[in-house]
Symmetry: C2
Subunit: 66 residues, 2 copies
């Protein structure tokens, strides 16, 4: 699964730490998702979508390997 989090975050001018704080997770969690180390839960995806005011399906998308 790939995601556009890094871009969305740049557009919103937020640091990983600030974003993490807003949705109540650790900075490492944001970093790990951005760098593809793991896939977030749906709750987290919905919260991220809310922060950036974009649908989940826009922020996250499936790959062949999924």
């Amino acid at each position: 699964m790939k995601n556009k989090l890094k871009v969305a975050r740049a557009e919103a001018n937020l640091s990983q730490g600030e974003l993490a704080e807003r949705i109540g997770v650790s900075r490492q969690t944001i970093n790990s998702i951005e760098t593809g180390r793991y896939v977030p839960s749906t709750v987290l995806a919905l919260k991220l979508a809310a922060v950036f005011a974009k649908p989940v399906d826009v922020l996250f998308s499936l790959e062949e390997t999924d």
Copy 2:
């Protein structure tokens, strides 16, 4: 987090087992998500959204407790 999976599945006329097979998870996983025993990963949410041809945000939504 709540979800409209049971309704969507009824509309699509699919059993839990059939749905599970389509997206490559166990039947218990579908059952557990429907009955709120746990929250799916974003990959699973995207796959479910794809099966029902509905956006993730329509199938899944946050609650106060999230």
